[in-house]
């Protein structure tokens, strides 16, 4: 059923972590490379600290902006539990890139539920490849936690077919001028992490 020459990327996180911006950077680069791209975003109510997901679909010709369940190639998650939540959208042959940071949802904060344990072991068993990283322990994310998204983007970029220079250029176009440098630095850190 799956269309050929297609990359389906899910970007999961908590409202405010920058899933929309990350999706926009990936989409802009793919467009520059002459590919068809569609994305779908979460706006509105769920942005108030809720679970959010951005779909990015790249290919010769893309129809639906939403990735069908079980079809995803890469799941980029800015938070650990969110990776598990959106796992059914990923193919068993897919790759998970996850920031191991735990952001406790309200039911956990108020003691009504417990933060799920054993998440990474579970994901590792279910998918072909897992890249887990504590982005907050690495500069520049450790001093600027808002850079989690571009750090993970750097890891994603390393396994995508586009050249590094093109990523850096497209970030200049898509990110506010005063934040470009720090985001590029964070991207570079992610790229270097992926190389090791």
């Amino acid at each position: 059923m799956k269309q050929v020459n297609k990359t389906d990327i899910l970007i999961a996180g908590v409202g405010g972590q920058g899933t929309i911006l990350t999706g926009r950077v990936i989409a802009a680069l793919a467009i520059d490379e002459g590919l068809d791209v569609k994305t779908a975003e979460t706006h509105g109510m769920a942005q108030r600290g809720g679970s959010v997901i951005t779909h990015v679909r790249i290919g010769e010709k893309v129809y639906s902006p939403l990735i069908p369940e079980g079809d995803g190639d890469i799941l980029l998650s800015f938070e650990k539990m969110e990776a598990l939540r959106w796992l059914p959208f990923l193919s068993p042959l897919g790759t998970v890139i996850v920031n191991t940071q735990e952001l406790e949802p309200l039911p956990v904060l108020t003691g009504q539920a417990e933060y799920t344990s054993g998440i990474l072991v579970e994901i590792e068993q279910k998918v072909k490849r897992l890249i887990a990283v504590d982005a907050l322990s690495i500069e520049p994310v450790s001093s600027n936690p808002r850079m989690v998204n571009t750090f993970l983007l750097g890891i994603l970029a390393h396994i995508m077919p586009f050249e590094k220079e093109k990523w850096l250029t497209v970030m200049e176009q898509e990110i506010k001028a005063k934040l470009v440098a720090i985001n590029q630095q964070s991207f570079e850190a992610g790229w270097q992490f992926a190389r090791q």
């Binding site: 059923m1 269309q3 908590v14 409202g15 999706g23 926009r24 989409a27 467009i31 068809d36 791209v37 569609k38 994305t39 779908a40 975003e41 979460t42 706006h43 509105g44 109510m45 769920a46 942005q47 108030r48 600290g49 809720g50 679970s51 893309v62 129809y63 639906s64 902006p65 939403l66 069908p68 369940e69 079980g70 079809d71 539990m81 969110e82 598990l84 939540r85 796992l87 059914p88 990923l90 068993p92 406790e104 949802p105 309200l106 039911p107 956990v108 904060l109 108020t110 003691g111 009504q112 539920a113 417990e114 933060y115 799920t116 054993g118 998440i119 579970e122 279910k126 998918v127 936690p145």
Partner: protein, 580 residues
Amino acid sequence: MTGNEAIALGAYEGGVNVGTAYPGTPSTEILENLSRYPGVDCNWSANEKTALEEAIGASIEGARVLAAMKHVGVNVAADPLMTLSYTGVGGGLVLISADDPGMHSSQNEQDNRHYARFAKIPLLEPSDSEEARDYVIAGLAISERFDTPVMLRTTTRISHSRSTLVPGKRKEHQVSGFKKNPAKYVMLPGFARLRHPIVEKRLIALREETEKSPLNRIEPGSSKLGVLCSGVVYQYAREALPDATFLKLGFSHPLPTALVSKLAAMVEEIIVIEELDPFFEEQLLAMQLKVPVRGKDLFGPLGEISTEMIREKVAGKKPKLIETGLEIPGRPPVMCPGCSHRGVFYILKKLKLNVMGDIGCYTLGALKPLEAIDSCICMGASVGTALGMARANRDAARKTVAVIGDSTFLHSGITPLMDAVYNRSPMTLMILDNGITAMTGHQQHPGTGSNLRGEPAAAVNLETLCRSLGVKRVSVVDAFDLEQVKERVKTELEADETSVIIARRPCIFLLTSFDEPLYVDNDLCTGCKVCIGLGCPAISFKDEKAVINKTICTACGLCEQLCRFEAIKFPVGKEGETSE
């Protein structure tokens, strides 16, 4: 670009002179984007009815105009819309209805295609961003050619999805000026009776147009299955059923019946794939086609359709999905740390009141652990429902408050408050004034003193407004002062006349800096969990003690007021100072 950005681009390229809207997910970004283009007069209206009325006036003056709103906003604008169908337009008028199947951010999932049929006006349904741009331009032309308003319906997955398109050039449109024509614009019964046959004739002409419109097309494929669909569902179906024959509708009302018959002659069976109501399916069934027609028996009337649903229901294919046996706690949306609404709801819950809620961020006060809202119907309904309760049972007013935000109050809370005064009702209304339209992404409104472009504007004074309606008991409290809120609410509930309490504090998003975060003195914390009851994301409970997350605490001080053991503290020297 997103569908909403593309609609704004289409309006710009199509020569639109005036844009009107009230914010509402998923429509909000349309006017925000349109306002960034030169030569288009854009501003927020107080509500969708005034937005459409302003659009009508601009059209009558000869301007091209775009009015944008969410699906339930069209209900508010329905009064002018139904008669606008009779008068027709001056310059082209396109009404955007942004529907929300699946209710990502709405109180219902009504199917606004019915409005096009109800008002007897053309309906356009784009299936991606490029079509969204193109259909706005086509809609303006159809509007002028057939002298009719045109409805362009998106859904969340069109408005908030991105796809590629190449921007074109603007075709300037000169505002021609108003030409008096009472028989067309003054809908007295005598004139309206003359307009109705014109509407019916227009509908016949529009149907002929939909038959040959390039917005509708048959995509030949296998003769086994014909699929009829519109909007984003076309994309899902095209992906799931690559071999089927398609009738893709872009200009979907009036239904092009000859095209439908043509599809029926090409295939053994037709499946109508549409979200929500059987809008097309019922019309196809009424045609009594020679081939079987299916649809809602497979897909039902609820929520969104997806590629995987179509694969399963039509193609019979269900992939094996990754399953996990682990429990995953939900992550519901929550009020932000430092939200000005939190303390008010905490008090209302403590006082065990019935709380008639309204539409906005504060609707989140209905969720755990605050669980302080008992009803939420539509914009402005808090005031009317609380008044109705008091009319049914005067004692109900002693234990009931209506709660509404500043933007929602100006949208449609003023008229029911007038009813309350007029009815001599003892009801109590709380206006939670955070100085912005928060939930939709912080839009200005007539009370903020700033317009859509960020320029200074006149600001409605809520206290003066309420007093001028005849409310004698108008008071203002600090939404962060729990004791003050509690005492004021108790006092006003006892009063035997209509009262308004304005609980004021700016939305946390409007502030750029905060005082230093509070901290918990572990020696004093007894683990009583009272502070946890605030539902603040900055407070958690670890090893039998409360913990404050320093990175997100904004020092609102609510938890400090609640702690009976003085375990929660401001940093030394900062006591009681909260940021304004």
